[in-house]
Subunit: 200 residues, 2 copies
């Protein structure tokens, strides 16, 4: 029972990795090098995959148009209530690659660590997006039975931390900060949400 | 009124380009270098964009898992009635990049030259896939009003050739063959469908 798992090296996707393994899936982690300023997370993602001995691929993507503060520090524009860290259609691109990978190796599921409770308000982290991607697979994939699973989507960050601890995730070996400096900045959305979860 | 247009350099996407321009859109062509053996088409796509003076981007994608005869000549497996030229989730990936580009530059539409009448049977060329991608945009894009337009989807190849002639598309300057040799092979699905259209 193979599964593709989007792995960023952060708390959520690493917890999802442990969750999927616990469900008996033979996971194939998909890691993206997409020009993110916190490319340090890639190292954490690779280490996480190695730690639990799952296969992984690092795929390079270049978005020439940027449009996000994660890709271009000059980008500061908040649009429609969505923060400037939103990368245009990034998660749609990631899931499309996951679908491609799943079809190529005959995987049955795609695991996606999105969360729509304690989150930054990205539209592509919500249940309706996951459902729409599932419908897209049904309508237009060759292997239209591939399931998208987002087990954290309705959990609070505190619940995710609890789950991570229960599953034995080494939380201190995950990287969430958008800055990618030596230490977490403590002020970006991602740091704040993580901190909130850790406080419980 | 900006639009993103997926441009392969073939008859269908080039006709769609002329169609979109005729509808008054300021087109931005998106061309993919994805390891296709007929990479010759990229040159045709770039030439097509230049001929009508539209902006274009060539995006490089590497699918490490192949899974298609267009990427790996050893792949010959037909699955679920779908020919081995099918590239796993390729068009989903292409449309995801188009969505990203559209959000980044504030485009209102994405033009997609898919066709589900005289076609190879790819699931991601059918109206239900286009509708599902439209629903995905509604559910999970920041700019959820972006429209996906597939004006050729229900036309026969002969009707596409008629439209191309009416719009002044230089048909002999489009490239459809999957082989990418000096001359079209005449036997691949793409050559056969093109020939069918030209015969009327």
């Amino acid at each position: 029972m193979k599964a593709i798992l989007l792995l960023s090296g952060g708390l959520d996707s690493t917890t999802t990795l442990y969750y999927a393994i616990g469900k008996g899936y033979q996971c194939h982690a998909l890691i993206f090098d997409y020009g993110q300023k916190h490319r340090k997370e890639i190292r954490y993602a690779v280490a996480a995959a190695k730690r639990v001995s799952v296969a992984y691929r690092v795929v390079q993507i270049k978005l020439p148009w940027k449009g996000s503060s994660l890709l271009d520090p000059r980008h500061k524009k908040k649009a429609k209530g969505i923060p400037p860290t939103y990368v245009p259609a990034r998660n749609t691109i990631f899931l499309s690659f996951a679908l491609s990978y799943a079809e190529a190796i005959g995987a049955e599921a795609i695991f996606y660590g999105a969360n729509a409770i304690d989150y930054s308000g990205y539209p592509d982290c919500r249940p309706e997006f996951v459902r729409a991607f599932q419908n897209l697979i049904k309508a237009g994939a060759r292997d239209c039975g591939i399931k998208v699973s987002a087990p954290l989507i309705k959990k609070t960050k505190a619940q995710i931390v609890q789950l991570a601890k229960k599953l034995g995730v080494p939380i201190d070996k995950t990287w969430s900060c958008y800055e990618g400096s030596a230490k977490p900045c403590g002020v970006c959305d991602s740091c704040k949400l993580r901190e909130k979860g850790l406080k419980g």
